[in-house]
């Protein structure tokens, strides 16, 4: 297992290097010039050249890339072209917000999806199954931002109440801090829950038809034991795989939800940076996302062994 993790870590290095190249190049391929954006429409030729030189953007792109890569290796991500604030400092402040939102969304997603998925599988083709499946389709079809907008607007129109849109730090009020994440995390988790619920149902149905499960029934084990102990662990392996992908999707979803609910996370930071062509910020955030996804996949792989002792590396 240790050797496997070590090998995977080694493989991750070229992956991250390739990703760094992509992350560095793609923002520069976007049409639009950060210098002209900074000076907006009042810029004049000499000013543009001066600012471009000041920001170091007049050098060959490979020089800029290797300089940035050198910074990354030293644990730095450069400075924002607009604010001159260190990207790493900004990320350190924003990453916990996005992680909190993402983890809570994942939590809601799982506590909704797994029990309902089990129920739908165990009560296949009953009213409960039909209802839960319909709800899952609804959850997949309705965009999260639409639900979020309604969840904010309707209570304000009906009762003059709206969820908090001012971010409260944990140190200021732990209760208010957690409370502000509940609604966005719940809505963000819905779409993910719908996908996981359908997968849980499908894989559990498959497992429930396996011979060893029939043997468990024949032994006279109780339903709870058969389903939860003997079937669910095996049924969850593909679900865990999908969960790894869901993490990336949830991270993507935070961009919109952070904007709607006023959470100063990484998604919003990235969104603004793309609009402003703030290359160091785009690079830093994307590199972090790539790293998170790589690590998550590693964790997922390692988790297989826990769920199924037959899996060995």
């Amino acid at each position: 297992m240790k050797r496997y993790v070590f090998r995977r870590l080694l493989v991750a290095i070229p992956s991250l290097l390739i990703a760094s190249l992509i992350v560095f190049s793609l923002p520069r391929l976007l049409p639009g010039d950060v210098v002209q954006l900074m000076l907006e429409e009042k810029a004049y030729g000499k000013d543009l050249d001066d600012l471009r030189a000041k920001l170091g953007l007049n050098r060959p792109i490979y020089v800029q890339y290797f300089e940035w890569l050198g910074q990354v290796v030293r644990g730095e991500l450069g400075e924002s072209l607009w604010t001159r604030r260190p990207v790493l400092e900004e990320l350190t402040r924003r990453l916990p917000v996005s992680l909190e939102l993402g983890v809570l969304a994942l939590f809601f997603s799982l506590i909704i999806a797994i029990p309902i998925g089990i129920l739908a599988a165990v009560r296949q083709d009953t009213l409960a199954d039909y209802i839960t499946r319909s709800m899952a389709i609804l959850g997949l079809s309705v965009p999260g931002f639409w639900i979020a907008t309604l969840a904010i607007l309707l209570p304000a129109i009906w009762w003059g109440w709206s969820p908090p849109i001012q971010f409260t730090a944990l140190s200021v009020s732990p209760r208010a801090h957690v409370a502000q994440f509940l609604l966005p995390a719940f809505i963000l988790g819905i779409a993910s829950a719908a996908a996981i619920m359908r997968l849980t149902r499908g894989t559990l149905l498959e497992v429930l038809r396996q011979d060893y499960v029939r043997t468990a029934w024949a032994k006279g084990l109780r339903e709870r034991m058969v389903v939860l102990k003997h079937s669910l662990k095996n049924a969850l392996i593909p679900v865990i795989t999908v969960l790894g992908i869901q993490v990336a999707q949830i991270l993507g979803g935070t961009v919109i939800f952070e904007s709607i609910f006023g959470l100063p996370g990484m998604g919003r930071f990235l969104f603004d940076a793309i609009n402003q062509r703030d290359y160091p910020v785009i690079q830093g955030v994307n590199l972090l996302i790539v790293t998170v996804v790589v690590v998550m996949n590693l964790v997922v792989d390692a988790f297989y062994a826990f769920l199924d002792p037959r899996i060995r590396y």
Binding site: L30, P31, E40, E90, L153, Q276
Partner: protein, 548 residues
Amino acid sequence: MDQTATSLTRRDVLKLGGAALAATTLGIGPLAPQPAAAQTPKRGGTFRLRSHVAPVHFDPHQTIAFSTMIPLSLAYSRLVKVKAGSAVVPGTQPIEGDLAESWERHGDNVYVFKLKKGVRWHNRAPVNGRELTAEDVRYSYDRFLTIKGNPNKTILGMVDKVEAPDKYTVKFTLSEPNAWFIDRLASTSTWVVAKECVDQHGDLKKPESVVGTGPWMFKGYEPNVRMSFVRNPNYFVPGLPYADGVEIILSQDPAAGFAAFLAGEFDFGPEYGMVIRRSDLDIAQSRVKGLGMRDYIVVFGGITAMKIDQEPFKDVRVRRAFAMSQNWQEALETNAWSQGKGAPNPLIPAALKEWSIPIGQLPQEGRRLYEFDPAGARKLLAEAGQAGVKVPIETTPGYGPDWMDAVQVALRNWKQAGIEGDLKLKEYGAFVSTALFGKFDKMILTLRGATTDPDTYFIPFLPGEPLNASGVNDPKLTEMIKIQRRTFDDKKRREIVYDIQRYASQQVYYGYGPSVSAVGAWMPYVRNFGPNIGHDYGGRLMVAWLDK
């Protein structure tokens, strides 16, 4: 007149694209202001505002972003400013001294300002509350004019030198006469900054470098969350400001902003300019009893630039056909901000009511541009040999969905005149860094309204200017623009400005869309507040108070 150098992002512009009905902006309509004269001001409380955009940074000499200038208007001062209060009619910009006690013009090119005595900087490091002197003013304007990459530089481009002959006197020498000079000094980008802050921080981009002489002092900035200001106890206008603090909440989502406004979390309309969408008005009025409201025409509106040195736009008949086949009323009716209320724009936006020529005073060819006549347009095109002309039209969806709705209306209108528009959408960043500088094929649809100084709307007509997107080179027009700059008598200058607009309406170097009528809104307990165009939130809030 205030000249606001800072601009809304292009995305914001259309969101505000409208103009108030003349009656209501004059204070005789249904959304007229509350009288404040008989009320006794109350001290205390904190104003809570929403901004949907975080400041790019805090250096006023390095950006034109409104998101920077609005918070700075709370903390900084300038030599002269636009009067504020519920009695000021939106769209008018009467000027009064800010740091300047008085000023005089000597000849055509020299202005001498006498500063108020005893003005103190905020009691914050590194300036620590020392007295402001003429040298501070000289330093600020010198930095404004000489710092690399100041996009606002053209505002004071006519300044040759700034001197501080004594502790309380500042002398400006202009390189050429410019009757708009005082208006331009009232711009919300010409803040007087402290040299010590620049020396300590290298520039003024960091929030801790915001140390001014304004009514509130910067307290803190949580990126993408909020900006807080506290009352300056040593503000040089005795008794002001009334509120103990101002909090600007950064909330990006418009629905969340409106919901929070309904829930009483903001004291003012949640959109830029402290307005609410007209489509939200009924809900807001039913939820907030006694909501303060006032209509006003915003400066922003659509503009069409054409390559006038190329076919088909070489021919003025084609340009006229394009303009007269646009239905400005339909554009307003389909806009959630205006719901039909607004005004057509000549060259100077209608919002600048002291300088914008009434459409009825244009020559016949000019008036016809606003009469939506697709049949007449077809006829003109046929005469020019361009019947059924097909034109690539570039724009950006980055201005938001309201803008794209307006673009669709424009395309439909043109189709009625037999003009086939081939829409090419460009990403926002790419669009503002190319098309606005004239790098486009035949035609662009974009927005204008970043400034509140009428003279800046002439810049796209001057040869050699980067923003001359249509490529205008008309010696007669250039001369008229120069003459009005040299004419100090307001009445005479207005006549020339009107003449320029008349002439421009005949040449149609650009086409102009209408401006929406926005609804400035504030909670019933906010007193003596009057919305106006421009970014000077600080000036408007300074004279207002909370009556809770």
